[in-house]
């Protein structure tokens, strides 16, 4: 069947495309090109003049130890959040997939955290774990654990990992549950008759069949951790203590907005942009083709 539609007027199709094009250009390409452009420039201390410096911003960036530190933090942060949120969500989904009384309520409740805005989630976690006020913090201290994320960088990192994981579990849970429910029941029954116990059924049948979902979620989660955790980090730790929770995206904000180094910050966003383009390309290439089986 020919899906093409013939337009008599050659301006009509352009007119119909216009809103989409305008939105993409104004809100995406224009700021992106601005970022690329300012990454080649340096602003003076008063913000009155700018000067073209070519790749100097990038050179400076790659000579700054703090940038590598942020990269390392991002790596630890993103792999921990992705691993934890994926595995916890999978566990919950497997449990919710059983036929339970009130299963619908349980599933709905599990999805709620996704509806909480990142900054709100951050504030919630901040208060729960705030060393002198937080309930959980008091519990930890009561047990004799020296809990103070305001001073201890590792604890601060753990805290933002916890908050970011909690926030992402719902999303992963939804996809895993949908994935589980799309596996034909007869496959599981057949495996049961074939002598596979539940754990073996999971690892030999269910998990391989979920792998396309898991791979898709991995990419989405990494993108999430890279970019959407800004609100959580800002609310919980503000990137501290002593930059222990400063990820790449937080550093863009800290250097550009707080430090006033627009050129360097723009260079960092361009690098992040390249990373996200690469991740999206990977996702389109592998997930959409469902190469796993």
């Amino acid at each position: 069947m020919d899906k093409r539609t013939a337009f008599n007027n050659r301006w009509l199709p352009l007119l119909l495309l216009l809103p989409q094009l305008v939105i993409t250009l104004v809100f995406f390409y224009w700021p992106a090109s601005q970022a690329v452009w300012s990454s080649f420039r340096i602003e003076d201390a008063f913000g009155t003049t700018t000067e073209f410096v070519g790749l100097e911003n990038y050179q400076v960036l790659f000579q700054t130890p703090a940038y590598y530190q942020a990269m390392l933090t991002t790596l630890i942060f993103s792999s921990a959040v992705a691993f934890l949120s994926l595995s916890i969500a999978l566990l919950l989904a497997v449990m919710a997939d059983r036929e339970l009384r009130g299963g619908g309520v349980y599933r709905t409740l599990l999805i709620w955290p996704y509806a909480v805005a990142p900054a709100i989630a951050g504030v919630l976690w901040y208060f729960m774990f705030q060393p002198s006020l937080g309930m959980v913090a008091r519990g930890l201290r009561g047990m004799g654990y020296d809990w103070n994320p305001l001073l201890n960088g590792n604890q601060a990192l753990l805290l933002v990992i916890g908050a970011a994981t909690w926030k992402q579990i719902s999303y992963n849970f939804l996809f895993f549950l949908a994935g589980l429910q799309s596996i034909p029941k007869s496959l599981i029954e057949s495996a049961a008759i074939d002598g596979a116990r539940p754990a073996r059924r999971f690892w030999t049948i269910i998990f391989p069949l979920l792998s396309p979902t898991a791979f898709f979620l991995l990419v989405v989660n990494v993108v999430y951790v890279f970019f959407d955790t800004f609100g959580i980090i800002d609310a919980v730790t503000g990137g501290g203590p002593s930059k222990a929770t400063t990820t790449l995206v937080y550093k863009v904000f800290a250097d550009g907005r707080l430090g006033g180094d627009l050129g360097g910050s723009a260079a960092q966003s361009v690098i992040l942009m390249v990373i996200v383009i690469a991740l999206t390309a990977v996702q389109f290439r592998y997930v959409e083709r469902r190469v796993n089986y």
């Binding site: 049961a192 002598g195 596979a196 073996r200």
Partner: protein, 353 residues
Amino acid sequence: MAGVTLNTVRKTYQGGVEAVKGVSFAVPDGAFCVLVGPSGCGKSTLLRMVAGLERITSGEIAIGDRIVNEIEPAERDIAMVFQNYALYPHMSVYDNIAYGLKNRKTPKDEIDRRVREAAKILAIEPLLDRKPRQLSGGQRQRVAMGRAIVRKPQVFLFDEPLSNLDAKLRVQMRVEIKKLQKAFGITAIYVTHDQVEAMTMSDILVVMNGGEVEQIGTPSEIYRHPATRFVATFIGSPPMNLIPGEMMADGHVRAGEAQFRLPPHPFAPGRAVEVGLRPEDIVLGQSENAFPLKVDFLEELGATQLVYGRLNGAQLIAQVPSGSVAEAGGTLSFGIAAERLHIFDPATGRRAV
């Protein structure tokens, strides 16, 4: 090797729906038993209870001498072929067939030997490295069979395994499944709603309706002596004609213009009965139990033709050799042998003679 025995097996689902209402029958060792009935008659539920995929509400199921009510599917030593084949999509054909053996910790060289042997029997050796999605429906069906035979189980269970195949392949696979089962001598329970499969494949035929067994017997017993009106109309194509009639003082049954002479029977005169006539038993021009029939409509099937008419207000179909009746509209005389008549009690639906 073992037979299967069911003793007043019931299945009641949460919410009170009774899917199986106390079914008892025994399948001897090595026999091919077919459960047949319309959709929702409980035949699949019954099979799934034998497999251990559904819990048994009450009653007992035994495989051999062992009651399996509380035994896991894996421990029952059965193999099942599903309607959608349930092949593992991420595994090759080889791994699909080997999966059950691997789970049972069979040595690797023995797995290999048995998988190749099964593949050879089913003529799927060239397909061993393929994934299920690269196979046709018939090939998938063979792989599913391979997965069943490779384990040499006590019992084969089949849940409408041919219903996803086209008509030609279905006939072919029907013969192959039956041959394989005989060759291995393994007890089989086979669920279908197709009465041709039921008649051709079974040693024992169990006709089910509404969660209950209507009749158990060999296919020819069920065809020749259907125990109920339901069985009479379910088995046989076109279905048996049922004509309302009345018992006469002289022992005949009167059904409109027809008078049927019966073998000796215990009925009182004046009693209402239903006379069953199989279309293929009705003979054009036979003098025994002759009756006139106005031909309303003709259907040509090639070897035979179906003659449609009405007798005592009910539709009657006669199946006669092709060319017997030239055109619709005329009135012809048909007859039927007395021993081919079936008499049912209209109140209970049960067979009387």
